[in-house]
């Protein structure tokens, strides 16, 4: 009896996950399938799921029609520096907002929330003018600098995570003679690892997928990023769907791998977090 009662929810879980997973995988499968289709099978209906013959050359063209690897390198530079910046800056602010009482902290928090609520379309032009006055237009810096100082969304996220940590931990650390920085780096940061990983992943993804930023700030095709590269498969009256999808698969793969590792360390986080003594 007992065994059955215990197994029942697990089986149900599998059923739900498999069905829902299939639905969620559809767009990606379609994308991969399209990326392997010859031109003639692109838009037949009912749609073809398994192309015949498989057009591997789409992938070859995808990386040769545009300088794919140059764009990849540029995107990697931008995304990893921006990620490093965000991972350093946002937990600092989140911690300050969540766990230290100081005058003006509520105000700063409200302003942080508020700046997320203004659509970027109207701040784009003034922001561009600032970077232009700093003579940084045409470099990667306008894409890298802002996250190094903080990203409101992540700051809010970090604040929520820091806020739910028990007070006792830092009190104990203080007894042990830890400085404020020691408490932050040695005690608090390890406890919010999953949140930091989430920030890292999201920032990397944001930079990786950013289109409008590179579009308006970069002025040299040798510095273009992947998202600008993808646009090049759209032609005047025609989109080269199979090559666009092949390139999109190649663009998405690194993030999928990154995610795979990040969520693995979610599990490791419990083991290595050190809270459980």
């Amino acid at each position: 009896m007992n065994v059955i009662r215990k197994k029942y929810p697990i089986i149900l879980t599998y059923i739900v996950l498999i069905v829902a997973g299939a639905v969620f995988l559809l767009p990606f499968i379609w994308m991969v399938s399209t990326s392997l289709k010859p031109d003639t099978q692109l838009f037949v209906s009912p749609p073809v799921w398994i192309p015949n013959p498989i057009a591997w050359e789409n992938y070859y063209r995808a990386v040769t029609v545009v300088p794919f690897f140059t764009y990849m390198k540029n995107t990697l530079i931008v995304a990893s520096l921006a990620t490093a910046g965000a991972v350093i800056s946002t937990p600092l602010t989140g911690y300050s907002l969540a766990r230290i009482k100081w005058k003006g902290r509520e105000l700063l928090f409200i302003i942080t929330l508020a700046v997320m609520m203004i659509p970027s379309q109207v701040t784009m032009v003034p922001l561009f003018i600032i970077f232009s006055k700093l003579d940084l237009v045409g470099t990667f810096l306008p894409l890298i600098l802002p996250p190094c100082f903080g990203v409101p969304f992540f700051i809010f996220l970090m604040r929520q995570f820091f806020k739910q940590l028990p007070r006792d931990l830092e009190d104990a650390a203080r007894i042990d003679g830890c400085s404020e920085f020691g408490i932050y780096f040695k005690i608090m940061l390890p406890l919010v690892q999953p949140a930091i990983l989430t920030v890292a992943l999201f920032q990397f993804m944001n930079s990786w997928n950013d289109f409008i930023g590179p579009l308006i700030y970069l002025n040299d095709e040798a510095k273009y990023t992947l998202q600008l590269g993808l646009q090049q498969f759209k032609q005047a009256y025609n989109t080269i769907w199979n090559q666009l999808m092949a390139a999109s698969v190649l663009v998405a793969l690194p993030i999928i791998l990154l995610y795979f590792f990040v969520q693995k360390s979610f599990i490791q986080g419990i083991t290595f977090g050190g809270v459980k003594g």
């Binding site: 922001l127 050190g274 003594g277």
Partner: protein, 313 residues
Amino acid sequence: MFSARTIAGIRPRMVWKRRGIESRRAKYGYIFALPWMTGLLFFYAYPLLSSIYYSFTKYNVISPVEWVGLNNYKELFNDPLFWTGIKNTLYYALFAVPISVVLGISLALLLNMPIRWRSFFRTVFFIPTLVPVVATAIIWQWLLNPQFGLINHLLETIGIGGPPWLGDPKWSKPSLILMAQWGIGNSVIIYLAGLQDISKDYDDAARVDGASGLRKVWHITLPLLTPVIFFNMIMGIINALQVFTLPYALTYGTGNPANSLLFYSMHLYNNAFLYMKMGYASAMAWILFIVIMTITLLLFRSSSRWVYYHGDQ
């Protein structure tokens, strides 16, 4: 390093000392927040303040700015598309946000179970957020295709004549809300991160008490997850009220059929960059800002009643 038991023993001694420590710590509050305050000043304050200013002007980015007072705001209230945008956007947010919260938590709970292939399943639900929006738009147009789409095909086999989905103003928004759930992967990650943070001790305690699975979720896991749920709700509302990319790609910016997919941000974008009415668009942005801010503040008000912060006790 620190076991729960030793910490519990120290606690009473600490309370009286806390006040003095707090005031000494205030300095560090500023130091920790300094990078962000600098960034806020450079990359946010000036653009924000200028957008307030522009909302009272006629400004097309190129020619000199001309002060028009409240004209943009007055004009907005007489713009039928402004009201259409508001109506559509609120409709969308009202349904999309609650659905995504429930769905997101459920998925995260399932994905947090000790199952085989856990990494694989977690990756699966994240992948749709990585498919380029144009591709997402195209495949949905196929799935929801009234004539030969998969969904109507399935409905037909069980004897239901499917609706025209995106072709009909009555069905287009529900279709979009359905599509938006595909991008739920991001909030699932955040819920998962939150679930990781919930101490295993609680699980053990619950097991000793003999709480059943669902009751444990309801009485222990969910209350502890409330700070994260709260976060995702706020972000969900902000994003829903700014919904742009998918409907823009889906309708090529038109909001067809019959303006039923014309969302507030799309109208704003068109005004800013197609019609060269940056002042007008800025006014739109500030009205949107006030709406979002009001809703968010109300939620914050309510949060003390249902969000449980461990650190606040």
